[in-house]
Symmetry: none
Subunit: 144 residues, 4 copies
């Protein structure tokens, strides 16, 4: 199942509340399990450059069933996935993208957040994802 618009709105509201708590201005994107945009929200005064980054983080996360930061650890110079960011019309591999997994362990989509430090981006994304599901996949990503 894909994330529903009701779930996407719940995730965005939770992410936004966390962003306010942290005193940050974020772009927040939710994509379905096919990587297609479901909902997007740019807080006032968020960087315009974060619009694309938030969406690419969500896409990257759902395309590989991983948190973006995990891929970034493998894509450093000398690492096994060096340069993977050139695929799929651009990936973002630093933290802030997290899969959304339902109670059956199926990935229904992902959330991507950009607008502050990568630590804050990740924290805000996690608040969003956990409002509607889990963030950890079984051994292999499942999607429907």
């Amino acid at each position: 199942m894909h994330v529903t618009i009701e779930q996407a709105e719940t995730a965005i509201a939770a992410a936004r509340a966390k962003a306010v708590e942290l005193g940050t201005q974020m772009c927040i994107a939710v994509v379905d399990s096919g990587g297609n945009l479901k909902a997007f929200h740019r807080m006032d005064d968020a960087w315009v450059g974060s619009i694309d980054i938030a969406q690419k983080k969500a896409k990257t996360s759902v395309f590989f069933g991983m948190m973006t930061g995990q891929i970034g650890q493998l894509s450093q110079p000398g690492g096994p996935l060096y340069g993977i960011e050139h695929s799929n019309e651009g990936l973002i591999t630093f933290p802030g993208g997290i899969p959304i997994v339902d109670a059956d362990g199926v990935m229904s989509g992902a959330i991507g957040v950009s607008g502050s430090t990568v630590e804050n981006d990740h924290t805000v994304a996690e608040a969003g994802a956990k409002a509607i599901g889990q963030t950890e996949l079984p051994a292999h990503p499942w999607r429907t």
Copy 2:
């Protein structure tokens, strides 16, 4: 001034209510006066192909300070703007994109809707735009 996130959410809620009233499933996008995405909402069961069209309608509308359908009348074969859709990484020039104009006659953004007939798309976009402003610009589009 750019459209705020509060205004964008108000516009999307009004557009969504109209879409429900019409029995349609819509993608609804709001961009600021720079053409950059402010908020996006895909109703469940809306066409995946409408994600991009809704955003391009909003972009097209704000880039020229016109309703998309007005540009489409000029871009037909033999018309003065024939082929304008090739610019700006893709425009959409059929109805469903409408400028959002504030009380001072300044364009603060635009709304784009896709998911049904172009008449329904336009009606839903208009409901969104009118919830937060006007849809008609003075002689020349102003933006701030």
Copy 3:
């Protein structure tokens, strides 16, 4: 549910058999319900230019839950969807793309065929789609 690789192969084999019967050389693409490529097959001597067209037909069909030719009737000069081909990084709106619908009326993917006349392209696509499902959707496209 998305089309499985077993279904995709069955569809391609059926399409290919029909292409041989017609004495044509085809590119045949199957995408899942998110528009992402599942399988692709280029017969020997098929046009290289058909590689992209077949994939875009399949994408177009699944993105709007329609046969591509239906969209093409609406996108002619003066028609309501004139210029829609500029969206979604390029659509193809002439015949040869057909949705794949399962027994529950849910769209699981689409097939796109290119390499001959549009009549032959459509016939070959239909042979592929019907080998694994139906080609007609309920009133509104459903996907999961």
Copy 4:
């Protein structure tokens, strides 16, 4: 000569068998000696993000007549080909792309595999390539 569809299917079947043996879910692409897609196969549960990577690995390999990992050794920071991934609308330079060379030492195409570790990707690609030819070119790549 370009790889034929019969050869491409043989290569994909061999690659798939190896992938099953390794317990992995792979995207497998075969391109001809012009870099144009001949056949593609996405196993169920393979990463969606691997669709593009598998194709880019095959393209990269045939464009330079080398295994992708060889190019990746030259494209690291400080290396002679640093940043080559920006060319050709995106290259992938980590292992998993291998040239397919016929009995006369002529490159007829390439195979690209993505979906697991780069070691597994390479092993699966090699199984595919060796099912229909060699993987090593004479001093200079030849194509016809």
